[in-house]
Symmetry: C2
Subunit: 168 residues, 2 copies
């Protein structure tokens, strides 16, 4: 997958001034509680700390200065596991279908490669999130593991979670 | 697996006074860099913060007031993943073969069950750690996933890591 940002879109590192836009995208996703393992009532501060704090490098995808989506990139483990990256993606619902997730994934893979990572791992893809799974698979990720009933979905009850992995 | 602490051994929550004993067990393990994803040069403070800080509840197994081993128990994820536990184990090399790991595992499983966890997951079992894998399998854990070359072993080079899982 080569880096292809659709015309008119721009991908750049996020800074503090983007936090309001990032939170406006994350809040409904985290409140829904269907895809990320965070408390549904997570505070703005804790959510932004999770997304863009610590060893997470956060990016935004924008169109005419409007943030359509965001992702973070980090090392999935330290020490002997430090060569495997991890990433998380979130999209403004109004922007879905614009290939904006694919653009961010391509950017994340390129960036991870450039930083010397040899693989990327998603630790916890909720099995009901079929749109994401199809996208990751189309980008070369394989299902490396299945965690039986590891996620309590607010509507579906206990569902499996997947570990997905691809070499870079 | 029922709770069976061999005669003469005692399992109890760790407190700050145990930190020296815990570090004396952890230090050679972390310095060797063969099983845990921490920097081999990790400081005492960071190592103890990892083992016994945050949401980790740490325990020690002792014999006549000498700590033979330690483990921690925590939730592996938050939110919709909060019903799956995680744990880590470390043993004084001089005490290996005394069933001390099995005693701690049994204690961890009981404790996790008592706290309402429905499963336990090990996120990253280095595939060369065959003694641990055999023990986890004998205790009902299954290999739920395999991460290709996800660990850089100081002697073996890139080796796979396993995700192991069992319901409680």
């Amino acid at each position: 997958m080569t880096l292809e940002v659709p015309a008119g879109l721009k991908l750049r590192p996020a800074d503090r001034a983007d936090h309001a836009a990032i939170w406006s995208i994350l809040e409904p996703i985290f409140r829904a509680g269907e895809t990320y393992c965070l408390p549904r009532e997570v505070s703005r501060e804790d959510a932004l700390s999770y997304w863009a704090g610590g060893n997470h490098a956060a990016f935004v995808l924008e169109e005419k200065a409007r943030v359509l989506g965001t992702y973070f990139l980090c090392a999935n483990q330290q020490g002997g596991g430090g060569h495997v990256a991890n990433a998380g993606f979130a999209t403004d619902p109004a922007a879905r279908g614009k290939e904006v997730t694919r653009a961010r994934l391509a950017h994340a893979l390129e960036r991870a490669r450039a930083e010397g990572f040899l693989a990327m791992q998603f630790n916890f893809v909720v099995s009901t999130n079929t749109r994401a799974i199809a996208l990751w698979e189309s980008a070369g990720f394989e299902i490396a593991g299945r965690l039986p009933q590891a996620f309590l979905h607010p509507a579906e009850g206990y569902v499996d979670a997947l570990v997905m992995y691809r070499r870079l």
